[in-house]
Symmetry: C2
Subunit: 329 residues, 2 copies
Amino acid sequence: MTDRPPPSEFELIARYFAPLAANAPGALGLTDDAALAKPPSGHHHVITTDTMIQGVHFLADDPPGLIARKLLRVNLSDIASMGAVPRYYLLAFSLSAGIGESWIAEFAAGLKADQDEFGVTLLGGDTTATPGPVTLTLTAIGEVPDGAEIRRSTARAGDLIYVSGTIGDAALGVRLLTGEISGLSGKAAAELADRYRLPRPRVTLGPALRGLATAMTDISDGLVADLGHICETSGVGARVEWARVPLSTEAVEAVARDPSAVQIILTGGDDYELAFTADPESAEAVESVALAAGVPITCIGHVTDTEAVAVLDEKNIQIDFKTIGYKHF
Amino acid sequence: MTDRPPPSEFELIARYFAPLAANAPGALGLTDDAALAKPPSGHHHVITTDTMIQGVHFLADDPPGLIARKLLRVNLSDIASMGAVPRYYLLAFSLSAGIGESWIAEFAAGLKADQDEFGVTLLGGDTTATPGPVTLTLTAIGEVPDGAEIRRSTARAGDLIYVSGTIGDAALGVRLLTGEISGLSGKAAAELADRYRLPRPRVTLGPALRGLATAMTDISDGLVADLGHICETSGVGARVEWARVPLSTEAVEAVARDPSAVQIILTGGDDYELAFTADPESAEAVESVALAAGVPITCIGHVTDTEAVAVLDEKNIQIDFKTIGYKHF
C-alpha cells in the first residue's frame, strides 16, 4: 500500500490530534508544554501507562483504526479495574518510515470513535520519528472517590472469585491469526480474531463494583497469572473450577477439537475482562450490579489461604500449566 | 560490552523500579493496575509526556545513567515551563535485545540520583521488549495552584523577553559529538557535550515566575522556534538582539572560530532553558526572583505586534535562518 508521507509534525497535530483534544480545556489545544487536569473534589486521579509495539502487540497489517482503539482500550481496562472512571489520555506516538498520512488519518479516526464510545478526551502527547517499529505509549487518567479504589492486594480467604464475560477468546484469536492453531470454522475464527483485535474494557462494571469487590484486576497476562497477582499481593491463594470458567461457543469448539486449548484459554491473556473477589455475603449485590451494568459475570471459585492458584478439572484434579502467563521478556 | 541478560519482567520491576516508587504511597508498590495521585487542595495536576529513542534522541553508547537523567529532565523542564512543581513520573520502557542487567541497573541509578535532586518519585510504568531501538516514554506530573499556570499563549506586545542560562551550548555539544563541527579545545568540547547530555531544567525558577511571567516555554526546539510558539499562540511577534543573547565562553569560542555557529546556537535546540515574557513594570521583581532562585536570566528583546520572530545582528540587520528549529520529521 502506498500512502502520502505524513505532513510536518505541527500540521499533523493540528489536523489529526488537536480535534481530539477540543473537549478538554486543560489540553490547551495541544499547543503548550504540558496539560492541566484536576480531579473533582473528594476524588483522586488514577493513572496508568501501556506501550504497544508493531510486530509485538499488533500485527503490521492490522487496520490502524483498530490498533488505536486497542491501545486506548487496554489502558481503559486498567482504569476500570481500579474501580475508576476514565477521563483523559496522553499519546506518545513514534512513527516509522513506512507510515503515511492515510494511516495516521485512520488511526485518529479510531481514537475518535472510542472517545465517543467511552467518554474520554485526548489531553496531550508527543510525536517522534523512529528508525524502529511503530511504538505507541498511551497514558490514561481516570477519577475515583478518595479511598474507593479497588486494589489487587485486598482479597481475603473465603471470598468468591468472579470474572466478567468469557475467557480465552483473544488468546485463541491471535493464535488463529498467526496460524499457530487452525481447523475452526471461518465464522468462529473471525469472532475470536475480533476479540483479540478489539478488547471490550469493562468501564461500567469496574466502578459499579466499588464497595463490593474486595480486590480486582483486569485479565491481560492470562487468568492464572492475573489471579496470581491478586493472590501474591494479598497473601492468599485461589481455587478455580475449570468447569465454571465461562467460555464462548467458539472457545468451546476449540476445546472440543483440541483439549490442549485449555492451556491457551487459561494462560494466554489479552482478555481484558475483570477478575475480582467479593465476600459471599455480597453475592446478591454483586449479581445485581453486574445485571445493571449489562455485563455477564460468573463465579469461578474462591479465595484460599494456600498462597497458590489451583485450577481443578472436572475430576477435581489440578491442571498443570506449561507457562503461567504472558511474559514480556 | 557484554552484560548479563535482564531478569524477568517482575524481578526487574521489584529489583530496580519498585525502590524508586517507595516514597509514593499512590504507586501501590508498582504491583497494581494503575497508580493514584491527587493534587493538593486548590491545585491542578500538570501533565506532560516525552519520548526518547536510541539513535535519535541519544547515542547508542551514551552512559545509561545519563540517558535516564536526560529523559527525566526534559520532562521536568516542561513542567517547570508551566510554572508548576514536579512531583511524579511514569516510565514506559521498551528494551531491545542488546540491553542487559547492568545497563538497567545504571539506568535506574541515574533515575535515583535525579529523584533525590529534583524531589520527584516514580509512580508507575510499563516494561516491554522491542525488536527496535530502546524507546523510552516518560510522563511527568506536577502541581500548580488553580489558574496560576504560565501558558505560551498569553504574551502581550510591549512585554520584555527573557531567557535563563546560556543559549546554544547543547546544540553545539551534540554536533561536536557527531563530528559535524570541530576545532574547539578539548575542555570546551567536553563542556558543551555535557550540556547536551545533561540538561538543567529550571525547576526552581519556573514556579517562582508565577504572577510575573506573562507567557513561558522551555527551549527544546531552538530559541527562534520556541519564541515562535509563544508568538503564534499569543498572536504577537518578537524582536531579539543577537548581541544580548547570553552565551557561554565555549559558545563564544565556537562563534569566533566559525561565525555560522550563530545559526546552530539560535535554532539548534536542546537548551532546556526557560524563555519567558514579562511586563516591563515587573522587571525588578523578575530580576529579584531569578536572583533568589540562583538562576541567571537575561533580557534579550521585546514582544512586538508583527507576528514574526526577528533576530537582529550587531548592525541591526535581521539574521536569516536556514532552518527554524528542530523538526521531529
